[in-house]
């Protein structure tokens, strides 16, 4: 019998066969059809694949499924509750903190993780916390503004 693992995904208990080579990124995208989590580089450089693991922002392309067993995973799809956007999502919309939007799910998740740790960051702390999430369109200024305003709304 194939080994299975269990974990919590966006508030629901899920179970799947364990494939030791599989990364969380592709399990989300293929097994669960949660395609909001993006592939940008596959090697941990860009942050497009950021999700929360036990409320901490992690890069799902670098996480093997073994490590996910028993953990609580939140993806961009699991952030809005009852049709209401998470304050960080709302702040991204209000501040127009996106262009092509491809980096956006990763940016939002990383920001949520950052605010989880540091609820009221200074601008400098936001910059440091977001530094390794890449955006090619240059939405950076507004992303910082968005996170700052979300931290006030939280």
């Amino acid at each position: 019998m194939a080994e299975t693992i269990q974990f919590e995904l966006n508030g629901k208990k899920v179970e799947m066969p364990l494939d030791k080579d599989q990364t969380l990124l592709w399990a989300l995208r293929t097994n669960f059809n949660l395609t909001g989590t993006k592939y940008g580089c596959g090697e941990g450089y860009c942050g497009a694949c950021t999700v929360l693991m036990n409320n901490e922002a992690v890069r799902s392309c670098t996480i093997r499924m073994e490590e996910v067993a028993g953990k609580k995973i939140t993806t961009i799809e699991g952030l809005a509750k009852n049709g209401k956007l998470h304050p960080v999502q709302q702040a991204f919309v209000d501040n127009d903190a996106l262009q092509c939007g491809f980096c956006t799910p990763g940016m939002v998740m990383n920001a949520v993780g950052l605010l989880e740790k540091t609820p009221h960051p200074t601008r400098q702390q936001i910059v440091e916390g977001m530094e390794d999430n890449l955006c090619r369109c240059g939405a950076h200024v507004r992303i910082i503004d968005a996170i700052e305003s979300a931290s006030k709304a939280l």
Binding site: F102, E128, C137, H140
Partner: protein, 713 residues
């Protein structure tokens, strides 16, 4: 096969859900009012040949559909890649038709539903298609008014329209809505466009700022990019890649890979693909393929490239010449001769090239991240030997393009593989493949010989660009004796090159604005004053003065030690000027950008918020090619494989950004590109002002800065 299955419930607005072929389109959209516009020669970029090669009706270039519920669908051939036309176009449509903004829906770039378009580039959506659409919409409005008047039993001049409701001027209760006009009818109107669009003063929605129309879809992960579609039986393809450009496949042994469970191999001439339902499994299997190659590479690398270029046999073309350059030189009190160099840079959109191919009967359908859906359709049809009616390309949201997604190799690969296997095939490039196959911005050399007289007037300007491309090579300054020459050659590059946000202009503006700065310094005059003294174009003068005010600039001759740089330029119909402040660490050679101010004039600005975002994006992105971005290679081998080898701007780079958009009641111009062109020049000039060191090569890496500092006496 019904397509509904693999759509999500929440389909973002620009993903057409109509699954019909165009001939049945009218039937399937149900009742309503269809208005087709024939705009022919207005639409730049549509060649007669391209028009003829289309098998579908080609007697119109755009159309709108008004449904019974009053919803207006606007179908255009452009795509949304972050530049924001999904937001600004509905503003235009709503305004011209006098209908609520919320009632507008865009369908973009679907080759089967939308009118032909050459591609989304050159900031053309707003400046070329925009005016044409506006005129067309004005005509549509007049047709609607006519129909409304008829229904109300009055003459056309007795009625007017607000919010999509037509009523009799002095009897508001007598009314009929657009939706009601469309009810139980199927009216097709073919219009030839003549009437004038509204005057700027009548604009209600245009000129106001709107947030991204696609914002919610994008912050919730619901916005669908090419790689996000799923289909029953879909397989991921991982394709065997040569180790370098110029290498050709001799043999490939896939037997080891085939032993892995679930793997199948698709082969067609040089195309060898490993297929698997799990992309990571496909990738693993691909590693097991053994392949032999024949090499035929160019003897050049990122260090020798400029020598290689100058020695290459090229063709000279004089782009522009006024007066006589030799006379100009004689009239000069001093002459400066310089050579500027710019490296290959990558587009590096966050979304790599992706395409999903599948069969619908004998038709090949490809969802592809492409800036040129119709070009992609042509390319696939040619490659597969199919008629255009047997190929459909649908572009969903694009995760950035910047010119790089004008190349559509991945879509051809998906089409070939789906045709070969009959299965839905997802081709999603890895970051390494994205860097390898990117059509880089060309490395280039610019030589300038210029002279001025003692009173500070430029007297001679001889500008030659080698392989940059001619966009932005204009003198822009008022010089009596000036010449611009463009040198080009086929096969000078060891790999593909192509358009990169404001193509050629980044290189040309960097060189020109550096040279201007050098002349001002030589004369001992303030660089802003020197520019203003030698400019005649009022719009250029306007942006320079505006940026000086925005920045709070005070004159000083360079190098002043303050680290202030100035540059200005012209691109895609728009005027821009920048002033930047930098700090240079003389020990490490590291440049810190402290402030960038930018003034832009793009005629009438449809969505100031959207345009400001583009300005910020240009400034941020532009710091990359100015400071760090450079593709490393040896022959056809690309050493740049992931972001660890290619530093793009990040949060810690952010300077204080100040922007100003000057409004002009002139035809709207594109705002997605102009503001990036000055970034090389403005930062190079700021470094000079800070240190007295002149940087003749981009990017200005710490090593190059240190080298230049060593030369300062």
């Amino acid at each position: 096969m019904k397509n509904e299955k693999y759509y999500r419930d929440e389909v973002p607005e620009n993903n057409p859900t109509f699954e019909v072929d165009r001939r049945n389109f009218v039937k399937l959209l149900g009742g309503g009012l269809f208005i087709y516009f024939q705009l022919g020669e207005f639409l730049t970029g549509v060649s007669a040949e391209a028009e003829q090669r289309r098998t579908v009706p080609n007697d119109y270039n755009a159309f709108i559909h008004i449904a019974e519920d009053g919803k207006v669908t606007c179908l255009i051939g452009k795509i949304e890649m972050g530049q924001g036309i999904i937001t600004s176009f509905p503003q235009m449509v709503a305004d011209e038709l006098d209908t609520p903004l919320e009632s507008i829906k865009m369908v973009m770039g679907d080759t089967e539903l939308c009118p032909y378009d050459a591609g989304t580039w050159g900031s053309l959506s707003t400046r070329a298609l925009g005016p044409v659409m506006m005129t067309a919409l004005a005509e549509a409005r007049s047709v609607l008014l006519e129909m409304g008047a008829e229904q109300l039993g009055v003459s056309k001049d007795e009625v007017t329209v607000e919010n999509g409701v037509i009523f009799i001027r002095n009897k508001k209760s007598k009314k009929v809505s657009y939706g009601e006009l469309a009810k139980d009818k199927k009216i097709e109107k073919y219009l030839e466009v003549k009437p004038k669009a509204k005057d700027f003063s009548e604009y209600k929605i245009r000129g106001k700022s709107f947030n991204h129309a696609d914002g919610v879809a994008k912050v919730t992960g619901q916005a669908m990019y090419s790689g996000d579609f799923r289909m029953p039986g879909m397989l991921y393809a991982k394709i065997l890649r040569p180790p370098s450009h110029g290498a050709t496949l001799v043999s490939a042994d896939t037997s080891e890979a085939e032993k892995m469970a679930g793997v199948s191999v698709a082969r067609d001439k040089e195309l060898v693909a490993i297929l698997h339902a799990d992309p990571e499994k496909a990738e693993k299997a691909l590693e097991k393929v053994k392949a032999d190659y024949k090499f035929n590479e160019m003897d050049v690398d990122d260090k020798t490239v400029f020598k290689h270029q100058l020695a290459f046999k090229s063709e000279a073309r004089v782009i522009k010449s006024v007066g006589d350059i030799e006379t100009g030189k004689k009239n000069s009190d001093f002459i400066i001769e310089s050579e500027f160099y710019n490296s290959y840079v990558a587009h590096a959109p966050m979304e790599p090239h992706t395409a999903l191919g599948f069969m619908e009967g004998d038709k090949v359908v490809v969802r592809a991240s492409t800036q040129t859906p119709f070009g992609t359709q042509d390319g696939i049809a040619r490659e597969l030997g199919l008629g255009l009616d047997k190929v459909r390309v649908i572009p969903p949201f694009l995760g950035g393009g910047f010119g790089g997604k004008s190349a559509f190799r991945q879509a051809i690969e998906a089409a070939r593989l789906t045709k070969l296997t009959g299965k839905p095939i997802m081709v999603q490039w890895t970051r390494k493949e994205e860097f390898f196959y990117d059509a880089f911005r060309p490395a280039a050399v610019v030589k300038i010989t210029s002279g001025a007289n003692a009173s500070g007037k430029i007297t001679a300007w001889d500008f030659s660009e080698y392989f940059a491309g001619s966009r932005g090579s204009d003198t822009i300054y008022d010089v009596p004796d000036a010449k611009t020459t463009s040198f080009s050659a086929r096969d000078v590059h060891p790999f593909a090159t192509g358009a990169w946000r404001a193509p050629a202009n980044n290189t040309n503006t960097y060189a020109r604005e550096s040279q201007i700065d050098m002349m001002a310094a030589k004369l001992g005059v303030d660089p802003l004053e020197f520019r203003l003294k030698n400019l005649k174009d009022e719009r250029m003068i306007g942006v320079l003065k505006a940026v000086a005010e925005l920045f709070g600039y005070t004159p000083a001759k360079g190098p002043s030690g303050r680290g202030y740089g100035i540059a200005c330029g012209f691109d895609a119909g728009g005027y821009v000027a920048h002033i930047a402040e930098v700090k240079v660490d003389k020990a490490t050679g590291k440049i810190e950008v402290v402030r960038v101010a930018c003034a832009e004039e793009i005629g009438f600005c449809i969505n100031p918020e959207g345009a400001t975002i583009q300005l910020e994006g240009c400034i941020t992105m532009g710091m990359g090619y100015a400071l760090t971005e450079e593709v490393k290679f040896t022959g056809g081998k690309i050493h740049t494989e992931n972001f660890a080898d290619y530093q793009i701007p990040t949060f810690s780079w952010l300077p204080k950004i100040e922007t100003k958009i000057l409004h002009k009641n002139e035809p709207p111009q594109g705002g997605g590109e102009p503001a990036i062109i000055c970034m090389g020049g403005v930062l190079a000039n700021a470094v000079f002002d800070a240190t007295g060191a002149r940087l003749y090569q981009l990017p200005m890496t710490p090593e190059r800065v240190l080298e230049a500092l060593a030369k300062v006496k």
